[in-house]
Amino acid sequence: MRIIAAFGEPGMRNSQPESPVSSISERLPGSEVRAAFSQLLESLRPDLLRFAHWLARDRAIAEDIVQESLLRAWRSQDSLKDSGAARAWLLTIVRREHARLYERKRLELVSLEEVAETHAGPRVAQPDGDLFTLRHAIMRLPIEYREPLVLQVLGGFSTEEIARELALSPTAVLTRLFRARNKLRVICGMAAAPDVTGGEALS
């Protein structure tokens, strides 16, 4: 899928191109670097979209988040010193963009009906592994559990990295990850493991 930047306002002609695929960038000095960066963003876009989708739980919002994140990344591409770290860097931008959007619009507010469904008890997965049920169960996890889980499993972040990103203690991250998996464990038909977190606070 192409990245299509929003059209800017007149008077921006000499400003930095906003689109990662802006073809004019290929005619500017350093065009090869920019082209490589564009290519890098494009190649990681599906990962970013999937990640954003799991955070926002809405495809259109995820698209917006990724689009905005790519524009931010494009503007601050000089701060990426190691292209090997691009994926983690971009995932972090996406996460922060989601957090910004969440703060602005309170997108994570869910209806009481959804909350009731979340706590309605185990929904046993079919034999042969019902990923559909599991996907919905993950989707229904509260954000404080879903976010570290997605960061860990999809993003490949370590506990320490998640702790830094979420401004939590490593112990709090372990607690959230344990509880997230424990909830999913129940939904998948297994007995809940005793909460060994010692009633750790989530922060």
Binding site: I4, R57, M139, R140, F178
Partner: protein, 225 residues
């Protein structure tokens, strides 16, 4: 390491390992079993996450409220209307789509406010086999762009109806005039000379009128051998 420590570690990071944990697992079949279960679960979690989630509403089991039914009906109607609109307003062929995609990929072309000098216009037209009877102060963007295997002039011309993108497609023959509306742009591709001319505007402007004017302003040069 206690069982609680081991289970916290396994539950949080099923793939984790370490001397203390392994030592505990050797002596504790229950925790070993717990790790096997959590690793199996984690494999499923990974597979689940690698697919995009479906909308939350897909698995609702409770009866929807009345307003939800109305909202659903409205959504369906809106979706049908949108589908109809997309079908009616779709680019008439792949050439139109390619033109739209090309213009979208060069958003800076719309932002230019100063006129392009004659040299830049000449560079844009070079090799395209056309001349323009337009004064350079009406052209705010001129590039020779790679499009469908050829370099084509991509211009933004300031008309009395606002800026219009003009792409001269010497190598693209169309049998008839095609209009299209896509991505906030209105456009037309008209047969002209040896090929065709695409004209696109944003937010207004009579593309047919502009295309008609361009047909007069573009002079197709004979092929040189």
């Amino acid at each position: 390491m206690t069982c609680d420590d081991a289970r916290l570690s396994i539950g949080a990071e099923p793939g984790s390992t370490g001397p203390a944990l392994e030592e505990h697992l050797l002596a504790c079949p229950a925790c070993r079993q717990f790790r096997e279960e959590m690793r199996a679960l984690d494999g499923n979690i990974r597979r689940a996450l690698e697919h995009a989630p479906e909308p939350l509403t897909a698995q609702r089991r409770t009866a929807p409220a009345v307003w939800r039914q109305w909202a659903l009906a409205a959504s369906v109607a809106l979706a049908m209307f949108a589908a109809l609109a997309v079908w009616v307003l779709r680019p008439s062929d792949t050439l139109a789509r390619d033109v739209v995609a090309h213009v979208q990929a060069e958003p800076e072309s719309w932002l230019a406010t100063q006129h392009v000098d004659a040299q830049a216009i000449e560079a844009a037209l070079r090799g395209a086999g056309v001349e323009l009877n337009i004064t350079s102060n009406r052209i705010s963007y001129a590039q020779s762009c790679w499009f469908r295997g050829h370099y084509v002039p991509h211009l933004v011309v300031n008309t009395t109806q606002g800026p219009a993108t003009v792409i001269i497609l010497k190598h693209e023959q169309v049998s008839a005039r095609h209009t299209f509306h896509e991505a906030g742009m209105s456009g037309v591709i008209v047969p002209a000379g040896a090929g065709s001319i695409a004209v696109l505007t944003r937010g207004g402007g009579n593309v047919d009128q502009i295309a008609g004017q361009m047909e007069q302003d573009v002079r197709w040069l004979p092929k040189t051998s």
